[in-house]
Amino acid sequence: MKFHGVSLHRKLEKNMGLLIFGILFVSSIGGLVQVLPSIFQESLYTATENSHLYSATELTGRDVYIKEGCHVCHSQQIRPLLAEVERYGPYSRADEFVYDRPFLWGSKRTGPDLHRIGGKYSDAWHEAHLIDPRSVVNNSIMPSYPWLAEWQAADVGNIELKMRALQKLGHPYSEEDIAAASDEIEGLTQLDVLIDYLQILGTGFQGEAE
């Protein structure tokens, strides 16, 4: 009984270079056919009126969100399902995320989705909730973040360099935006900027483009 694949394999398993090439070739096909076209799909990277360009404070707040690992327990992705739309608001669209580097859709909801949390609660509620979640939500298992009220927003990375890097990647920040960035976050705590970020989440959505 002759099976072509096996006889080809017998050549590969005697030649290490061919084997390495074979593995590289076979394993890259999926990425080339499936991932690469998505990288060139215009609708996945073109900004629309639904896309929100983060300000210096929001961007810093977003980095606080990442640093504390909020995305570990909260998704930012509302699926187009009746129950999800009722619970969280309009389902998420790709054009809402074109300025999200990295994406923060998450993979687990130990807490509720946050994609449209912006404007749903007052700043004071968020402050109380972040410092002591159980003071406002009975039997919540969210950690408390008292240190955020003490830490300065200016200590999170370097906002000017951050905006320059994003500018290089195509985010339309002007030189004035970047020059004013440090002053914008001066004196704010990490709690302040995190709340600023939470309050704009999902609010840029204007409805369908067409």
């Binding site: 640093k67 408390s144 890097a165």
Partner: protein
């Protein structure tokens, strides 16, 4: 041939990697247990930022995957590649650099996660300085591994080495592409991909870190240690060839099932789903090949702890690789996505498959390398039952939690209102989370017992010197390796591969 017999396998580095792997297993699982407890008692972070759930969870996953998992993969790869190539490691000093360099990366990387340095991408959280260090170390690993194969005295490259080779090559590709970013500060960078595209690239990486590291690499362990321990050749050579290439081709496509109903193109989701279902075939082909290999040695299962662990691992491999494709079906995923079902699925793989097979290889290698019997077979048997019980309890608790979350979140009453608030659903999780904590404790206690058992076996001893067996030229002028375990099925003629299994 006098010179040949003086050569000895470099097992010192294997022993050290096994020791580090055991330490990371205990620490990583301890962090996991702590996290399980924090979900019941959130005050357990004591107001310390570095004990906060969001920082500790990546430490748990990275510690287990890269500390415990990769150290074990390097150990078993170094152990088996020498014996299947009939030659000591290429550049043993570089192997030692791999060993210690990797531990430095895991340790400092873990601390950086606690400090809040993170790219946020799952299983790729470490920031750019670590990404560069990992790339350099990975190249060293590749040089030692492929260098040893290049020096081999057996014409055929044995099947376990295809899988270890796949691990090294594909993980390198995924790691480099997924971590492409512009560095901002030492602890911060901006991903070159944004939004939906970032999601697609991340899950191409994330799913295949599972595929080629946690599955492919550990299949390398199966193909070497299972036939050795069962003293049987691999059941079907042809099946191993077909399943290897089918596995390598198909796995890469399955990533988008992590993004069902998310804001990515529908064709990408559908393709991901179909390929995930197809993936069941090569996965089960490998499982069947393994189970059939051991089928002539069932009796050994009753007395041999190493074989027990390896065979049980194959059973959980079968379970997880069935559950995975099912969860990749969109209509099932609607329920399972974002819930604890996913956590349960991961642990049926990580505890039932990865940890068990690793334990089996440790119980195999350590007594052989030390030249003494295992310190206590009784303790190893106790460990076996704790590992099995802990894993089962964990999976069942997470099925209960995950399926209830999924169904209750989607539930809508007769007037179209949501039946349950998010808070109500999560308040009902306490019993499940309690069981999960217990399951974790049981599994961890088994691991601690193994650590004690193996360290007692190793304590105060050096590895014994093992030389490559002499190569015997056969009539065709190709080499038979008495230590090679390449199997030949009855209807399957193999040129130049040793059929023998050593005593």
């Amino acid at each position: 041939m006098a010179e040949l017999t003086k050569e000895v396998y470099h097992d010192g580095v294997v022993k050290r990697l096994v020791q580090f792997s055991i330490i990371w297993a205990v620490l990583g699982m301890l962090v996991g247990v702590w996290l399980a407890a924090e979900l019941l008692w959130p005050g357990l972070d004591f107001g310390q930022f570095w004990l906060s759930f969001g920082r500790l969870r990546p430490l748990h996953t990275n510690g287990i995957i890269f500390g415990f998992g990769v150290s074990a993969l390097m150990a078993t790869a170094f152990y088996s590649v020498q014996r299947t190539s009939n030659v000591p490691l290429f550049l043993p000093q570089l192997a030692w650099i791999c060993c210690y360099g990797w531990q430095v990366i895991v340790l400092t990387g873990g601390l950086s996660l606690l400090a809040g340095w993170t790219s946020s991408k799952e299983y790729a959280e470490l920031e750019w300085p670590f990404d560069i260090a990992i790339t350099v170390l990975w190249v060293c690993f590749a040089v030692v591994f492929f260098g040893t194969i290049a020096n081999r005295r057996i014409k055929n490259i044995y099947v376990s080495n295809w899988f270890y080779g796949g691990l090294i090559i594909v993980i390198a590709m995924l790691h480099i592409v997924n971590n492409l970013a512009i560095p901002v500060t030492i602890d911060n960078s901006s991903s070159i991909f944004a939004g939906a595209q970032d999601a697609i690239v991340q899950w191409w990486y994330g799913h295949n870190a599972v595929g080629f590291l946690l599955t492919g690499g550990f299949l390398g362990m199966v193909y070497y240690f299972l036939p050795k321990q069962a003293n049987q050749p691999i059941w079907s050579y042809r099946l191993s060839v077909v399943s290897f290439w089918a596995f390598t081709y198909t796995y890469i496509w399955a990533g988008p099932h992590h993004l069902h109903y998310n804001s990515i193109p529908e064709w990408v989701q559908s393709l991901g789903m179909v390929m995930s279902l197809i993936l069941l075939a090569p996965s089960w082909a490998t499982m069947i090949n393994g189970i059939m290999t051991v089928s002539k040695a069932w009796k050994k299962l009753t007395v041999d702890p190493a074989l027990k662990f390896i065979v049980l691992a194959l059973a959980f491999y079968g379970l997880a690789t069935f559950e995975g494709p099912m969860m990749a079906i969109r209509s099932v995923n609607v329920v399972s996505h974002f819930t604890d079902w996913t956590i349960g699925h991961v642990h049926s793989g990580a505890l039932g498959w990865n940890a068990m097979i690793t334990y089996g290889t440790f119980y195999f290698m350590v007594p052989r390398m030390m030249g003494v019997p295992l310190y206590s077979v009784r303790l190893a048997n106790i460990h076996f039952w704790l590992a099995l019980g802990g894993t089962m309890l964990y999976i069942i608790a997470m099925w209960g939690a995950g399926i209830s979350q999924g169904l209750l979140w989607l539930s809508i009453d007769e007037i179209g209102e949501l039946s349950y608030s998010f808070n109500e659903v999560m308040a009902g999780m306490v019993p499940y989370y309690g069981l999960r904590l217990l399951a974790g404790l049981i599994f961890l206690s088994g691991t601690v017992i193994m650590a004690y058992n193996l360290f007692r076996t190793m304590y105060g001893r050096n590895t014994v010197a093992v030389s490559p067996p002499e190569v015997i030229d056969d009539i065709k002028g190709t080499a038979h390796n008495p230590d090679a375990v390449m199997g030949v099925s009855p209807d399957d003629e193999m040129p130049s591969a040793g059929k023998g299994v050593p005593a």
